[in-house]
């Protein structure tokens, strides 16, 4: 019986990702993205490398004119925008801002890029 329970527990633990263990360390609120989608890379990879992916892609886009590639910022925002605010940076718990505030890494992306998803951003072609 105990063995079966242990097997079940380990199987579940293996399948579940991002399971938060309760502890004394405050964690950022990671809002779930649009239901039914999966990010273009695993969370662990993204957490460590998203800045490099974006930085490399932005040169391809601005200098090379390649739009809509794998790490398109607009595509990130479309999926990760909060349901209510439709933004990734408007409120303190929205996707980009919550982790960046937690890590105390200031980003200036949204001084130029709109943080709103494409369907609702003002001025977006309807």
């Amino acid at each position: 019986m105990l063995q079966r329970l242990l097997m079940l527990g380990l199987l579940t633990a293996g399948l579940a990702h991002g399971g938060e263990a309760p502890g004394r360390t405050p964690r950022p609120v990671v809002e779930p993205a649009t239901a039914g989608t999966q990010c273009v890379a695993p969370p662990e990879v993204m957490r460590r490398n998203h800045m490099d992916f974006l930085k490399h892609q932005r040169d391809d886009t601005v200098h090379g004119g390649i739009r809509g590639a794998k790490f398109s910022l607009k595509a990130c925002i479309d999926c990760h925008a909060n349901q209510k605010t439709q933004s990734v940076a408007q409120e303190a718990t929205n996707f980009c801002v919550s982790c960046h505030a937690y890590a105390a890494v200031k980003i200036d992306c949204f001084e130029c890029h709109t943080s709103k998803a494409r369907t609702v951003a003002q001025g977006a072609p309807k």
């Binding site: 063995q3 199987l11 932005r58 004119g65 390649i66 739009r67 001084e111 130029c112």
Partner: protein, 243 residues
């Protein structure tokens, strides 16, 4: 626990851990069914514009309004607002002949703004479009000093509600992009040219100057055109007829 029991538990745990990424892969494949990346700037192309000022009415601002809407610019500009295209009303002093001329970044082949930019943020793309890479721009405004056409604007205040395809912000310099966000996606023309055609004036033609069969190439072969401040030998990609 027996040895077999332990091995069974370990196998189940490993199985769980290994299955999980596999399940993720299947979901990614289903999600990424949309279109792939665009091909990018083509070095064989040189984008340019032909503006027939004989078809421009003084007081008509269709091109300016279209540009403002497309790029999220200020519809009622102040001296510190960005203006990527403006209508300049000119009158020759000696003869009194008046014209109405839309002026924007001329997308020179030898752009002085690119020469003077200390970080290389102001650059000329492979297809001839002169752009500002706002990731690298430090806002020194040297390009604004260098441009002979007053094409560049400096963003003087924090901006919000940008158009998703046109990121722009405080402290950087910007100018007409020949609607590069549209062109890259395969659209055939800029917002200003489209608005001018739709309104029935037909004063602005956009196209590939390197393609001898394009409409713009045929027209510049037929009619007399001029480049602004041609004596500076910057070879702008924008040509004017009627001035």
């Amino acid at each position: 626990m027996s040895r077999r029991g332990f091995l069974g538990v370990a196998a189940a745990a490993i199985g769980g851990v290994m299955l999980a990424p596999g399940i993720q892969l299947i979901e990614i494949a289903q999600a990424a069914a949309g279109s792939g990346p665009t091909p990018g700037a083509n070095p064989k192309v040189r984008w340019g514009m032909l503006i027939d000022t004989t078809k421009c009415e003084p007081g008509c601002n269709d091109c300016v309004t279209a540009c403002n809407t497309e790029n999220g610019l200020d519809p009622k500009p102040t001296p510190t607002s960005s203006q990527w295209i403006r209508k300049v009303e000119i009158k020759e002093i000696r003869t009194g002949r008046a014209s109405s001329v839309p002026v924007m970044c001329q997308h020179c082949a030898e752009p002085p703004c690119v020469d003077v930019c200390p970080t290389g943020a102001s650059f000329k793309r492979a297809d001839g479009i002169v752009l500002v890479d706002r990731h690298t721009c430090i806002g020194c405004r040297y390009c604004v000093m260098a441009c002979p056409y007053k094409a560049r604007s400096f963003v003087h205040e924090p901006l919000t509600e940008q158009v998703p395809d046109v990121p722009r912000g405080k402290g950087c310099v910007e100018s007409c992009t020949l609607c590069v966000h549209r062109i890259d996606k395969g659209e055939k023309t800029t917002a200003c040219a489209e608005a001018c055609s739709k309104a029935g004036h037909g004063a602005i033609v956009f196209g590939d100057l390197n393609d001898p069969d394009s409409e713009i190439s045929r027209r510049v072969r037929e009619i007399q055109t001029t480049q602004l401040r041609a004596d500076l030998k910057l070879d702008p990609g924008v040509r004017y007829h009627g001035i």
